[in-house]
């Protein structure tokens, strides 16, 4: 009997708390946004991305934001449906997978929910979203290769360590280097292999090149982790690297520790992959709220490349993720 009473009490409590939740979301002048992102633990990039969004979409800035995280597309779609039912004004989406979003975005359109994509694009008709804010990986690669070209070496013997084959970052960052190697006689690839974003594999690849006795003067690693693995192999073989040394070391993503290596002049270059999309999204929402129309669907973020000889402590603090 006691148990029954307890159960009834708990059930009532739950009903009341649910009502309370439902009631709280009343219109109080805040813009309701539902944000669907990948798991912030996925990488340093994602952690910085999530922190940036959380800092922007606060009540102080006039937003009522709800967050949903998943690395799985179907779970993301389910949360999107939930957000649409809850009647959000804007749906911000970083999709885990490019496919499968058509129907849920059509529902959003029917309900008058505006969709803004960030970081990742999807395979859907572009009438289904108002804007997409992305990084241009090919441009990141081009910026890095242009910088390398500006070093005016007599000969470029490059160890090219690639990310997971087929990923957008790998394709973009590889494409620029491949084009340059094909166009110039004094650019050679000593080796071009994937280390799958893995520092240990990068270390073994560079170790293998060192053991073979081939000469090289550039390490072009498609992310910071792999550059670190490569540098570990160089250190072991006592090959000097960094500004004014034997080997130029290049990485991507601008992790804080990597920028610190630049500051110490152990590395030469680090390309940014900008995780700070919140201000761009905020701009768009402000414009839409003011009744303006967005003319450019695809917004490409500014991305920097840092040179070890010019980087400052402020850069490290501001751009390090």
């Amino acid at each position: 009997m006691k148990k029954k009473i307890l159960a009834v009490l708990m059930a009532t409590a739950m009903v009341f708390s649910m009502v309370a939740c439902g009631g709280k979301a009343d219109d109080n002048g805040l813009i309701k946004v539902g944000i669907i992102n990948n798991d912030p633990n996925e990488s340093g990039y994602r952690t910085a991305n999530d922190a940036d969004l959380k800092a922007m979409f606060t009540e102080a800035n006039g937003y009522d934001a709800s967050f949903a995280y998943s690395l799985k597309n179907d779970e993301q779609i389910a949360s999107a449906q939930q957000f649409i039912q809850d009647g959000v004004d804007y749906l911000l989406l970083s999709a885990a997978d490019t496919a499968g979003w058509d129907s849920v975005l059509k529902d959003a359109q029917k309900e008058g929910v505006q969709v803004i994509l960030f970081d990742r694009t999807i395979d859907a008709d572009d009438s289904l979203y108002v804007a997409s804010i992305v990084s241009d990986m090919a441009k990141e690669g081009q910026t890095a290769v242009d910088w390398l070209k500006g070093q005016n070496l007599a000969e470029y013997n490059v160890i090219h360590i690639q990310g997971v084959m087929g990923s957008a970052a790998q394709k973009g960052r590889t494409g620029a280097l491949d084009a340059e190697v094909a166009a110039n006689a004094n650019w050679n690839l000593v080796t071009q292999q994937t280390a799958e974003w893995n520092a240990e594999k990068a270390q073994q690849i560079v170790q293998s090149v060192i053991d073979s006795g081939k000469s090289f003067n550039v390490i072009y690693a498609e992310n910071d982790d792999m550059a670190k693995g490569a540098v570990a192999a160089l250190d072991k073989a006592n090959i000097s690297h960094g500004v004014g040394k034997d080997v130029i070391v290049m990485g991507f993503d601008c992790n804080k520790w990597a920028l610190e290596e630049l500051l110490k002049q152990n590395w030469n270059y680090d390309g940014q992959c900008n995780p700070f999309q919140a201000s761009y999204i905020d701009d768009i929402i402000k414009k839409l709220e003011a009744g303006e129309t967005i003319t450019e669907k695809v917004i490409i973020m500014d991305e920097k490349g840092f040179d070890a000889s010019t980087i400052t402590q402020e850069d490290v603090d501001k751009y390090g993720i």
């Binding site: 084959m165 994937t194 799958e196 293998s208 006592n238």
Partner: protein
């Protein structure tokens, strides 16, 4: 005429004896790889003596790389052999547990915010703490396998999936970096000694294990449990306890390998550190000619197997095989090994041998 035949006979017997010896498979694989590399490019064996930035002598070259990276595998193979022998199954959570123990070492050395300039405690203390954690992980697997009678692969699947998240959680998902050079010794070189440290660590583990096997009943007991659990129990052994112990010993091996791993880079990446290393460790045990279904084992053969695997990996890297294709090549080795050790194939071989023998004796009579 007769004398000739009998001589031939003894040679074939000798060959059969050799082939049956447990060390035959790893040595044959080693020779095969060695000869292949000799023909392909003799400079593979070139070892050069250089000097590190501190002026200490260091050796470098492919053979040294094999010794270096093969050693952490050899350490894991020691533990994996015991687990395999006692339980007839394998621990697939090794890579994830390395992530956990490595994460613990860094958490201890770099402090809670992961940014400490100096090490927060002696490396030995941090290592001992990581040992305890790795042994607890081993004990968790051991309890599931020994007392709850769950299949080893299924039981260790739990840590295999959860381990890397736990490792990230230990450091609040930060990436701590040890800034002191002295931490690099375990994955690098001891000043003044030109051979990589991991080799000496592996050597110490091997000597320790040899002593344990020589002066305790561990080998006898694990084999007894692996061959027939119920008769082992009837003879007064406690099979559950022995299985449990093998998992805890594997835990120690994992902690040692984890220290080497994090020392190499002075940092850790939770999602990829020691990725797929469990497969290499299991492969080392199989390549050592040990039955993956448990029972009798040879520790030496497993250790040799580990170095042979690294020989293969290094050869593939030298041939610039894409690293995402490495596992495909290793898969071929696994298939060959498994097929060779399958009972039907073994029977076919022994039948063939008998037939040849019969033919020879018929000839002799004729």
């Amino acid at each position: 005429m007769n004398a000739k035949v009998s001589k031939k006979f003894s040679i074939s017997e000798l060959v059969m004896k050799l082939v049956r010896h447990q060390l035959f498979i790893p040595i044959a694989a080693l020779l095969l790889l060695a000869i292949f590399n000799l023909i392909n490019d003799p400079s593979f064996y070139k070892v050069t003596l250089g000097y590190s930035s501190t002026g200490d002598p260091v050796l470098s070259g492919y053979p040294i790389t094999i010794l270096d990276f093969g050693s952490e595998l050899a350490i894991l193979a020691i533990g994996m052999t015991l687990v395999t022998a006692a339980t007839g199954g394998q621990d697939i959570s090794v890579g994830a547990t390395i992530a956990i123990s490595g994460s613990v070492v860094l958490r201890m050395l770099c402090g809670p915010d992961g940014r400490a300039e100096t090490m927060q405690m002696p490396i030995v203390v941090a290592f001992l703490i990581s040992c305890v954690v790795a042994m607890l992980c081993g004990a968790f697997n051991g309890v599931l396998v020994a007392y709850f009678k769950i299949q080893p692969m299924v039981a260790t699947l739990i840590l295999y999936t959860a381990g890397r998240s736990i490792a990230a959680w230990i450091n609040n998902n930060r990436l701590p970096i040890v800034k002191e050079e002295s931490f690099k010794v375990f994955g690098g070189f001891i000043p003044g000694i030109p051979i990589p440290t991991p080799f000496f660590i592996a050597l110490a583990c091997i000597i320790l294990m040899t002593l344990v096997l020589r002066f305790t009943n561990l080998k006898l007991y694990t084999q007894a449990v692996g061959i027939n659990e119920s008769s082992a129990r009837l003879n007064g052994l406690n099979p559950a306890m022995i299985k449990f112990i093998t998992f805890v010993i594997l835990g120690i091996c994992v902690a040692v390998a984890g220290l080497i791993k994090v020392s190499r880079l002075s940092t850790i990446n939770y999602s990829v550190v020691a990725k797929d290393i469990e497969m290499d460790a299991i492969l080392a045990v199989a390549l050592g000619g040990n039955a993956l279904s448990g029972g009798k084992f040879s520790m030496g053969a497993s250790i040799l197997g580990a170095y042979v695997i690294q020989f293969l990996t290094t050869t593939l890297y030298k041939l610039e095989v894409p690293s995402d294709a490495l596992s495909a090549y290793k898969a071929i080795v696994v298939i060959l090994l498994v097929v060779m050790s399958a009972p039907t194939v073994r029977k076919w071989f022994s039948d063939l041998g008998k037939k040849l023998k019969a033919k020879a004796s018929v000839k002799e009579v004729g």
